[in-house]
């Protein structure tokens, strides 16, 4: 059984006013096949957690650890972490001019697997995943995320999730900006990945509606850079109704 373990993670960023502490001791353990929802107010550090796990150079780890099956991830480069089995579906996916989706996907698949995929099987998988995500074939020849709508970018993230088959994925607001149909399509993609590969998920969201399709095992409330409370799916419903007021009594955002 694979396990992703985050312990006492402390992260800061450099700002014009100096170093700013954002994560203040995050503890989270995600087991194989488990789905953990993370909810919390704007600016509480959810994306920071996602980027820190993936290894974005802007975020400085001040302390703590992130281990995948006992192996420390924080010492590794971004691409090494991905090859170890981590995946980040970004809140704002980046446009890559000059690189086609198909070229990008094949290069990534080759990097993750350590060898080029067999052509016929690969094309078949790609076609099937794109079809399931209702992405037109023409996207293969377009440059990565260039001119994609918000929803198309999110589908493209899930397409990568399906094809690269990571052990653990952080989905940062993958549901934001999706209409109801797209939300269902994307959720189905996530669920397929769970079923097929036993994917463990950290699902960052503001809304309960995605949790109706991607069922969480645990819900964590993230406030001021740490987990303030945890519970089951019922906590998400309560948060959506009540907001975060009761956690914010003694904190200010930013």
């Amino acid at each position: 059984m694979s396990v992703l373990k985050i312990e006492d993670l402390q992260v800061s960023v450099e700002t014009e006013q100096g170093t700013k502490q954002i994560l203040r001791g995050v503890d989270l353990t995600v087991g194989e096949g488990e789905t953990h929802a993370i909810m919390g107010p704007n600016g509480s550090g959810k994306s920071t957690l996602a980027y820190a796990i993936a290894g974005h150079p802007k975020y400085h780890v001040e302390g703590g650890s992130v281990t995948l099956d006992g192996e420390e991830m924080l010492d590794k480069s971004v691409d090494e972490r991905a090859r170890a089995g981590l995946f980040l579906a970004m809140q704002y996916p980046v446009e890559i001019p000059g690189v086609s989706v198909s070229n990008f996907l094949r290069t990534a698949k080759t990097a993750i697997d350590g060898e080029a995929p067999a052509i016929r099987g690969w094309i078949k998988d790609l076609d099937a995943s794109m079809k399931a995500l209702r992405m037109d074939k023409s996207f293969r020849e377009r440059n990565v995320n260039e001119g994609f709508s918000g929803g198309e970018k999110k589908r493209n993230e899930i397409l990568q999730l399906e094809l690269l088959k990571p052990k653990f994925a952080v989905l940062d607001e993958t549901d934001s900006g999706l209409d109801v149909d797209a939300l269902k399509i994307v959720s189905e993609g996530v669920n397929r990945a769970k079923e097929n590969t036993g994917l463990g998920i950290l699902l960052i969201t503001h809304y309960n509606r995605i949790l109706r399709y991607v069922k969480p095992d645990f819900v964590h409330v993230f406030v001021a850079g740490k987990v303030a409370e945890q519970g089951g799916p019922e906590l998400a419903v309560r948060l959506e109704n009540e907001g975060y007021d009761r956690f914010l009594a003694d904190t200010t955002v930013g």
Binding site: H56, V78, D79, G98, A108, I112
Partner: protein
């Protein structure tokens, strides 16, 4: 997270005279701070002469010279240069003949005349012209390899002539050292289809100032490709005169400037006759301290060029700090009756966010850079139409990338 850093100016048909503010995309502070000086005269009124003394001494403030590292090229502008023929090699294929012609030959001057002093200096100094006559109709390829120059200052003159109804490709390959000012005339006969590719893979020390002049005949097409990968100062400025009905030009450029290299190209498309068409597409990559590229794209649609269809664009990809890419499109329209005229210029940066995104998918940093540059430049390479050359240039670009990474 930061948004992708692409700036774009895409504009439809412009008013009568359109000289947009020169776009200046340096990642380094621009030393003189001001915008580039663009003379208000129209391009067709620019002074021409084959005699260097008809031009005033160059100070570096002229628009033609303002970006060039003048100290490195001043001798080619104002000193005596050796105009004797220099040996070259070429592959025989039956579609073309290659010989030396006298400077008194009527072909000389039939495609254009110098617009600046270095060009005039080369014009008046070259003793003979290398004459490549394309007569084949099957698209044969003639490769002229010019790799026997040396560090001494030289002048050269080349005339590439495509007979009416002919179809062929002429590739000028440049390697080794050079200290060369030259003029290349291209005469495309009626209904001919000519491809001219000039590849600069000079040694790091080489200086090369080249002016190309093309006269494109009725219903004829010229595909013109400039590839600059090596050299210290390399400037290839082509002028394309669409003087007969139905003439068309496809002008492509690809450049990759490393630390300390200066590459300039100023394509000028002169729509004289009606129903002429032009497409200009240049792409450049810059990597390393002091890499500097300049693209100035002039398009003039003259008073009789009704039905003109024209589009020009330049895209630059910046791969590291300390580089500078100048990109200046100019469009002048002197008739209201055109099909279309547009221009685009952008300088995008391969930035840390893009690198992070690719790495987060398991791709190493080196591979990520290669992926982006290869993809970016492939559009131009694919236009060359010579499989051998396309493969070799793709390889050369990989080598550029590896070399640049090794010195980081």
């Amino acid at each position: 997270m930061a948004a992708p850093q692409i700036s774009e100016t895409d504009q439809p048909a412009a008013p009568l005279i359109d000289r947009p503010d020169p776009a200046q995309h340096g990642l380094q502070a621009h030393s003189d701070g001001g915008s580039a000086f663009v003379p208000v005269q129209t391009r067709s009124e620019r002074f021409t002469s084959t005699s260097p003394d008809d031009f005033e001494a160059v100070t570096g403030r002229e628009f033609e010279w303002k970006f060039v590292p003048l100290a490195k090229v001043a001798h080619l502008i104002s000193d005596a240069v050796d105009g004797s023929p220099t040996a070259f090699s070429y592959t025989e294929n039956g579609g073309a003949t290659v010989d030396w012609i006298d400077r008194t030959n009527a072909l000389i001057g039939s495609a254009g005349a110098p617009e600046e002093r270095a060009s005039a200096n080369a014009w008046s100094s070259a003793e003979k012209a290398l004459h490549i006559l394309v007569t084949g109709e099957d698209g044969q390829e003639t490769v002229i390899r010019r790799d026997r120059f040396d560090g001494s200052a030289r002048a050269a003159h080349v005339v590439i002539e495509a007979a009416p109804n002919s179809k062929g490709t002429v590739i000028l390959e440049h390697a080794g050292d050079a200290n060369l000012a030259e003029n290349v005339e291209i005469v495309v006969g009626d209904n001919a289809q000519l491809t001219v590719v000039t590849v600069q893979e000079w040694d790091d020390s080489a200086i090369h100032l080249s002016s190309h002049f093309a006269r494109i005949g009725r219903d004829a097409n010229l595909k013109h490709v400039i590839v600059s990968l090596g050299g210290s100062v390399v400037r290839v400025n082509p002028s394309f005169h669409l003087v007969e009905q139905g003439a068309s030009i496809d002008s492509f450029g690809l450049y990759f400037a490393d630390a300390g290299q200066y590459f300039e190209q100023r394509p000028y498309v002169d729509h004289v006759a009606a129903n002429t068409r032009s497409r200009v597409n240049y792409k450049g990559a810059l990597q390393g301290e002091g890499a500097h590229t300049v693209w100035v794209g002039d398009v003039l649609i003259g008073p009789h060029a009704d039905g003109t269809d024209s589009y020009e664009q330049n895209r630059n990809l910046v791969l590291s700090e300390g580089t500078r890419a100048d990109s200046i499109p100019n469009l002048e329209i002197e008739t209201g009756n055109i099909l279309g005229a547009g221009h685009a210029s952008s300088t995008g940066r391969f930035d840390d966010e893009q690198l992070f995104y690719l790495q987060s998918r398991g791709i190493t940093e080196e591979e990520a850079r290669r992926l982006v540059v290869r993809g970016f430049l492939a559009e131009i390479i694919q236009q060359i139409g010579s499989e051998t050359l396309e493969a070799r240039l793709s390889q050369a670009i990989e080598v550029e990338l590896l070399a640049a990474q090794a010195t980081e």
